[in-house]
Structures are given as structure tokens and as C-alpha cells.
Amino acid sequence: MTTSPSGAQREARLLRAFVEMADTLVDDYDVIDLMHQLVDHCVDLLDAHGAGLMLIDQRGGLRLFAWSTEQIRQLELIQIQQDEGPCVDCVHSGEPVLITDLRAAVDRWPRFTAEALRAGFASVHAIPLRLRRDTIGALNLFGLRPVPLPADHVRVARALADTATIGILQERAIHRGEVLTEQLQTALNNRIAVEQAKGIVSYAMNLDVDDAFRALRAYSRNNNIRLSEIANQLVTGHLRPDAVLASSPPPSDGG
């Protein structure tokens, strides 16, 4: 984001994003697709250069669930593998971790900070995904300048994180831990099926995995079939990869 939009423009975009997600939530939506929409909105609305979303795996670890760019994916994976970083601390504490200037965090998270600074990032803001007492993950915003996240941006980020939580758990009124586990574990496994499907489409259509993902999402939208359903069909041989090719517009326009 090179130019900052005016207040009115931002307001309008904010409204559009929430309307779009609310529309998705009342429909038969796919969690993985929704989370990718969500990280894209974060980039757009919060002047972030990139955004990622992590979920707990309920075995003491974290899994990356959505990311806006390959660079963000790498930085999120470093945190998971090294078990350090603002996003890891955010999930463990259940509180936002707002790092305005990463240069001051070198001692706290040496490996992550070194990589993030090398990649040109200056700030990281991690917002927890919470449902009552449970923290199920974190939404992470990466910025290029060492500036604090304005208070209204924090509010928007929290609202987006809440939307993500509700979207992932697919039920606002989860009072029972076992339902949370059913939803979360299913979402994590569907994420794997989508990776398998990306591999199929990328090989069959000779695309890189990001373009393969775009083709899958486009096919999902055009045919109104959930992404994870398409993935399962592709992997089990019930859907041929050329069907995805035939019905998808050529990728690379960022769609």
C-alpha cells in the first residue's frame, strides 16, 4: 500500500469487506477460502504489507492456515518452527502483541526478528483469535514502517479476528469444548486436502502452487462448490484436473 486512502474511502472499503464476509458467513462457505479473503482484507484495510493466520493444533503446536504472500508464509513458518515470535506469544498469552519496531525485539526473538528485518519488515502486530476463554490462533499483520497500529486499526483488526474465529468454528454459540475440537481438527485436515489438490492442479496444469490455488478458488466460486469438497474430489479421483482447467479463467490476474 503506497498511498494511504482517505478516511471516507477507508470507511467504504471497510464496510464492503464486512458486508462481503457477512454474506459469505450466512452462505455455505469454505473456511479456507474465507480465511484467505480475510488476510487479503487485512492487507487492504490496515495498511499492512502482509498478513497471516495461524491456528493451534491442540497438541501444543501451531499450524499456518492462511497467508497473503510467500514471504509472509516463510516468516510465519519460522515462528512455528523456532517456537518464538510475536504470533507465538500472542497465541500463548491470548493477548495482542503489538511490536511497533522490530529492531527493539532482537533479544526477545533473535531468529525470527533477524529474518523479518532481513525481509524488510519493521513492525508486527499479532491479534488473538479468541472465543471466550479459549485462544484458537492469531491474526498477524506485517508492516514495512516502524509505526504503531492506530487505535481504530486495532479495533478493525480485532473485528476481523473475531470474524475469523466465528468463521472457523462455524458456530457462534459454541459452549462445549468438544465442538470446538471437531471444527478445528476438521479445518486443519481440510487445509491438508487443499495442499494435496494444489499439487495435483499445479502438475496437471503446469502452474506454480499459488496459481494452482487461484485456479481452485476460481473453480470453487464459479461452480459454487466448497474448496475442501473440490480438493477431496480431486485427490480421490472423482474430479479430473482438466475440469478445473476448463472452467477457470486464466490465472495471474490476482483473482
Partner: protein, 243 residues
């Protein structure tokens, strides 16, 4: 939510116990059976049973830790319904901590049978890798109640290691189990599985088995083989030419 430190500690303890079993049993299926037995000691449950699939259907019970577990499985198989079938079909955990206050459209007959057996809770966890379905682990307990976060983490660890063992049994490998799996992301393994499916029109099970067998034969990590395939440093053809 309890302190993640506690969860890690408990998971480490459970994992150490399970790895000891794996070390002492060279046959994967034997190890899975022992794991099933051990889970009744490691978790606050009264019994466990494991059923496995061949292709798109749940085929048979590999092991049950006791007579009740056996009955739970055989009833489900004879009725063709139950939490384990639901879990397999919908690829998701089916968790019922309080059977007495539970109604289900998915398995009404089995629910009635269970009520007679004085079982308080039943938890069915699918063993799967994305679209690859391996089977289901059923845990039951006489007293109703859900698991604490630490107990849940331990239960998921049992399911994960059983899944890995059965994947090993499919591919004739043993390496992947002996390195920490908790914090690693395996997305390229899943993508490379997809590549092999598309390249050779093989099943996902076979594709993953091929990937793991190649890594094992070449003394490499599956993640590294997968990364090479996705970076096009290694051709899918190289994996099938291997004897």
C-alpha cells in the same frame, strides 16, 4: 485453557511412552495394537479400538483393548452405523461426552444399543491426511465427560502416531516417526503427494507411500524429497524408477 507448558509436558510424556512401544515392535500393526492398549493407561478412558479402511470404505477392526471395545466395533460394523462410520464418512471427529443426553440422526440404532451398555462417552477420531483416509480410533469411557486440554492433546497424539504407523505399514518405511513432528509444517509433502497423483494417475495412498518409500530408501527426510519435487529439482519419474 490450561498453560501450554502443561500440555507440552503431557504430550512429551505420552509421546515417550508411545515411542517406546514403537521401538519394541518391529511390525507396525503390532505396534498399533500395543498403542491401542497403552492409550487406556495414558488417557482417562476405559477402552480404545482401532478400525482401518481399505480404499473408500471402513473395512475391519484392527484391535480393541477390551470386550466392550470389541462389542462397540462389531455392533457398528454389523449395523453399518455409529460414530466411527460417521467420523470416517464426514472426515471429522465425532465427540460425544454425554451419551445419555445425546440424540443423533446419524446413528439412532447404535445409540440405543450403547445406552444398554452403560457407556457414558464415546470419542471417534479419524486417522487421515487430507483426503487420504486411513481409519478411525474410538475411545470410550464409562463416566461421561469431555477431556481437559492436556488430555485432548494426548489423545490427538495417540491418533497421530497410530496414523503414522499405519502410513508406514503402507509404504514399508519406519523413519518418519523418530523425529519431532509437532512443530513442522508438511504442506510440501501434501503438495508433492498431489503431484504424484496427477503424474501417474495413482491413488493418494499410493502416492504418499511412494514418496515416503523413496525418502526412506535414499536416507532423506520426506520433507526434503517433497521440497525437491515442488522446486522441480526432482522429477516424479525419479520416484517410480527407484527399485
Amino acid at each position: 485453557m490450561s498453560d501450554p507448558g502443561d500440555i507440552n509436558e503431557l504430550v512429551e510424556r505420552v509421546r515417550a511412552a508411545l515411542f517406546a512401544i514403537v521401538r519394541d515392535h518391529h511390525d507396525e500393526l503390532d505396534a498399533v495394537k500395543q498403542l491401542c492398549e497403552a492409550s487406556t493407561e495414558l488417557l482417562p478412558i476405559d477402552g480404545a479400538s482401532i478400525s482401518i479402511s481399505l480404499g473408500p470404505q471402513l473395512r475391519n477392526t484392527l484391535h480393541a483393548s477390551d470386550a466392550v471395545g470389541n462389542r462397540i466395533e462389531s455392533l457398528q460394523f454389523s449395523l453399518g452405523e455409529g460414530p466411527c462410520f460417521e467420523s470416517f464418512e464426514f472426515r471429522r471427529p465425532v465427540l460425544v461426552p454425554d451419551l445419555a443426553n445425546f440424540t443423533t440422526r446419524e446413528w439412532p440404532v447404535f445409540a440405543t444399543e450403547l445406552a444398554r451398555m452403560r457407556i457414558g462417552a464415546i470419542f471417534a477420531f479419524p486417522m487421515q491426511r487430507g483426503a487420504i483416509r486411513i481409519g478411525v480410533v474410538d475411545f470410550y469411557r464409562v463416566r461421561p465427560g469431555w477431556l481437559s486440554p492436556g488430555e485432548l492433546a494426548a489423545a490427538l497424539e495417540v491418533v497421530e502416531i497410530a496414523t503414522l504407523l499405519l502410513l508406514n505399514a503402507q509404504s514399508g518405511t519406519t523413519t518418519a516417526l523418530y523425529r519431532p513432528t509437532r512443530r513442522l509444517d508438511h504442506e510440501q509433502v501434501h503438495q508433492a503427494t498431489g503431484v504424484l497423483i496427477a503424474a501417474f494417475d495413482m491413488s493418494a495412498e499410493e502416492a504418499l507411500a511412494r514418496l515416503r518409500a523413496y525418502a526412506f530408501a535414499n536416507d532423506q527426510l520426506v520433507d526434503d524429497v517433497a521440497r525437491d519435487i515442488m522446486a522441480r529439482r526432482l522429477s516424479p519419474q525419479d520416484l517410480v524408477d527407484e527399485p
